[in-house]
Subunit: 341 residues, 4 copies
């Protein structure tokens, strides 16, 4: 059945599979200590225009959020995120499992507002009871957000500035980063991100890799003994070179952004069709996730022909669904979907 | 300086000190395995009209919340509480420290609304992504709440019913239980609580004891190996008999409620004076905590003469403070306070 | 440089890569809820002759140990392992990170002795202080062990019997299971393992897969909400179908054991050469790991030409190294190694 | 029944109860932020001849071990202790509950050998796999040990030196410190301890207080936000002044050592009687714990008349028991015990 359920339904971009196949019987040392990983890191550093960036490859997104947040927070600190943030909702308590609270702020189409963050920190610092409270020790945002929206460079700079003001690192979950970098209207580049975030990751799982996320520590702030920390979380991949091979390929000749752009273009085609047919979309974005609210009959009818993601029920008779395109989405698949709308 | 800062400023009711002094050179086995603890438990069971209640004495409130919640939740479960709940705000992340998320609902003068809880659980159970989310595994309320408000028997029954509907235990933090049981307008008795809650505790620290909370498991649901669980949390008191001696005294001849009533009566006197002088009180309650909003000049002036608790700043020029009475509050202290108002 | 450093130096068996490439643009639902995973599970159930086995695919070995142990232990329980067990030494505290103690028994060439386990449990159960101690809640062994040794069916049965006696589940780490099943002298089959162990895993990472471990719960004992537990540990692979494709291939036409056998045969050739040349081997085994003690000069000389694993320094002038073969080891590589000896 | 079961069977030294009674209706601010706590800290600093010592009062021993160890270790570190150390055996996994491994060395009559510690650290630092292992991040010893034995100043200095060599803090569990400071043959003073240990505690629970342990950080190394850390562990006592009152009393006019000395003197009387009557004592010490091995008939007979602690069964027909004296032991009780021997 046709699927627009998510952006991790297919394997990997063919160039990645070919690269892995070509290197298959080469012998690599374990745990990412190989030359291909070094090459991939060099390419990412170059793309970030950040020679000093420290990079570590992990397997998945929740894992990355858990390891990065746990390793950068002190015992008394929690992570500030918006209510709809992935770490607050859809990671089955992976952050709390490591002993840290998610301090949730109001979300605005999935985004955090810098002035609200400032207020939160200011009120906390002035609270006479703050020694009995969880300290804000990191700010987590995703870009694109869980709603496919994007931070502008001005918004990201404002968050960066508030973080600096309170001495709190800014962490950007880039599970879908490629789709953000190549979206219409986006003005945040990888070098911007490397400058404004203290740590972020370049998502591979959802952007063309079999699996893999490249964590980038931008200000000499990779926690000491980070490999041991990763191991302690059960997150260290024995065949680390598999991650190196994939990111080395993705960051050769602009493959990462080229394949991400496809997802946005196909999403735009769907958005146009939805608008043309008068569908209700609860929010506007320009990346690879589209949210549509359907009446329940229409939802059942459509759901019988194409796999979509249930998102939520705004009221008794309606359902909001997510349509996701990806690097793998073909124009033919989109034609089929549009024909069903 | 005169203090209405909190309800744990003094030592213990004199009858408790006398009891400890009298038993001082008796020899007791360790960790609460003594006869005085058994006697205290029997008295609490009788007061609860629950012969089967299993009881364990702990030292403090946050400790009790942490141990009870951690021991009753499974790995995938979190605890539902209101945003202003003690476990969500003022325990420095003690719940998350044990790996569990606090799932926060809107507070209504510190209370949880049963229909909102029902909605929350219903939406969760219907969510296609719930396997990626923290399961609601317990409901936590405090009674009296952190705002001194009380659940009526109807409200408590409604919460109980929702908990039953979803198979979730109801936990009542009774750190200030005495002040609730004896408040004007309260219609919830100890036997009601033992029937409607799955576990609750009778607060000693804030109601006449040096320290101590009596946890009551009401439905044969004390977790297996509970003493070991307590020990693992560093929460097992070597001289457990000290807790037994205190609760045995508090539950002899109605001492617990008698001394709690004093706090409410003195609080009523203060409330009357505040009303008479036109002070603004952001909410109404009948227990031992009073909240008053003062302009900042008045706050500074009053704060120089009597210790009060800063609560929050509702706006730039005002401060809300808490005035707390207790079992130890004397009419003379209240006279002095009223004279200052 | 020639490498016998470990059994995870190469990618995957070519049949696996071909399978992944063939399915690359198929669309699968996420998180292992796809038909290929179902097919792979059915094949493993068949190989185990255990129709009721519940199976879950994870990415790596430490991750699997952490998730399985944490999910099956209660709060007061620890896991019994030998001192040299992977969970006790080389997982950077991943078990303790989830709050559980590793209770270490003496190792005998990497193995646990059933009568010593029996003694340990008996003494524990008789200890008047056991409520202040960590309860033995699971037995962990690896087969083959970290020293390449194997449990006989009699030894495994004895451990099983002790576990039954005390009501403790037996967990077998099979990261290198294929090399055990196909070793000279081995008398433990997969159906034996499924009968004698309560949970075990079939290692893929070290036996021909890119990555992946198939956890088999044999007695209807998969923990409730296991997928959520896995997610909470950051261990849930988005593209679960990648694990399904690999195990489905490995368990088609006996590929798993066929490729494992190669490692043992090549290891035997190396063992023969070592014996013929009078090298000192601190222990005897028949699987793919060989331990040799070299004087330090010889170690440096050899280490310049072939990558081996440092194991330990038995004394000031000597070094024990590990030579590992794998599914990928070619006769030519072994010829080259033997020529260097 | 007469009891020599432990050193926490009675309430508190009468001077402590009197002090608490006298201050009972005074009003103190919460959580140890009061003047009496300050006074007690000043007295302890003076006794330690360490003006800069940072001091925090906690309630119990396991709690103190858990909070101190967890707060001073980084995520990848464990605590080195001897196998018989309290943290390794009798705290129900309280250390592992916070995510840290106890790295156990061989015990010699309950003590750690400095050269064995040196070897352990040296081997660890040289291990090629150490990034996959738990780092030694603290050394824990108890003095007196769980066997009532004592470190000499030379032994303690040697441990201190090894800790310095590897940059690891030395933590001394002083739950029974008073009994060590006043033992025959002891040459370690409080100022020695403040110089040689990085953190230690002065036990109150077992030496005359109702409850309480005074943690002393000796080298400006109290972890940042320590009060919040304590709160997060559920270990912050609301009425902190109760701990201040007790330690202020214990450190006035040498009360702490005076009452501790009594326990050792009474223990010496018992030891003499045991020797005179030919009892077998598995080890020699000079503090308040005596270990005697009895044949099982004698054990049953004696156990019917006096409460002793079961320790272990050295063989089928014998039982080793512990006889504990304390600050509260009277000559009359000892006379009665001796008459029974």
């Amino acid at each position: 059945m046709l699927s627009f359920e998510n952006d991790y339904s297919e394997g990997a971009h063919p160039a990645i599979l070919e690269r892995i196949a070509r290197a298959n019987m080469d012998q690599y040392p374990g745990y990412g200590s190989d030359e291909v990983c070094e090459s991939a890191k060099a390419r990412i550093r170059e793309a970030c225009q950040d020679e000093d960036a420290e990079i570590f490859f992990l397997v998945g997104g929740t894992q990355t959020n858990q390891v990065v947040i746990d390793s950068m927070l002190s015992e008394v600190e929690g992570v500030v995120a918006v209510e709809t943030g992935h770490v607050n909702v859809h990671e089955a308590g992976a952050i709390e499992a490591t002993g840290h609270k998610v301090l949730a702020l109001t979300a605005h189409d999935g985004k955090m507002d810098a002035s609200e963050l400032d207020d939160y920190c200011a009120v906390f610092m002035a609270d006479g009871n703050r020694d009995h409270m969880v300290w804000p020790g990191m700010v987590y945002i995703s870009n694109p957000t869980e709603y496919g929206t994007l931070y502008s460079k001005a918004e990201l700079t404002a968050l960066h500035d508030v973080c600096r003001k309170y001495g709190i690192p800014l962490f950007v979950d880039g599970a879908r980063l490629g789709y953000g970098l190549t979206a219409r209207g986006n003005d945040v580049t990888l070098p911007d991100l490397a400058r404004l975030a203290d740590v972020f990751y370049v998502g591979g799982t959802k952007v063309g890799a079999l699996m893999g996320e490249a964590v980038v520590f931008t200000h000499h702030n990779m926690p000491k003994h980070f490999l041991t920390i990763v191991k302690r979380h059960g997150a260290l991949l024995a065949k680390g070179f598999l991650l190196g091979l994939q990111f080395d390929t993705l960051f050769t000749d602009g493959l990462y952004t080229a394949i991400a752009r496809n997802a946005n273009e196909q999403a735009d085609r769907i958005r146009e069709a939805l608008v043309a047919r008068g569908y209700e979309m609860p929010l506007v974005n320009t990346t690879n996730q589209i949210f549509v609210t359907l009446d329940d009959d229409r939802y059942r009818e459509l759901g019988a022909k194409v796999r979509l993601s249930f998102w939520e029920k705004p009221d008794a008779g309606h359902t909001t669904v997510r349509i996701a395109t990806s690097w793998a989405t073909t124009p033919e698949h989109v034609d089929q979907l549009i024909a069903l709308l």
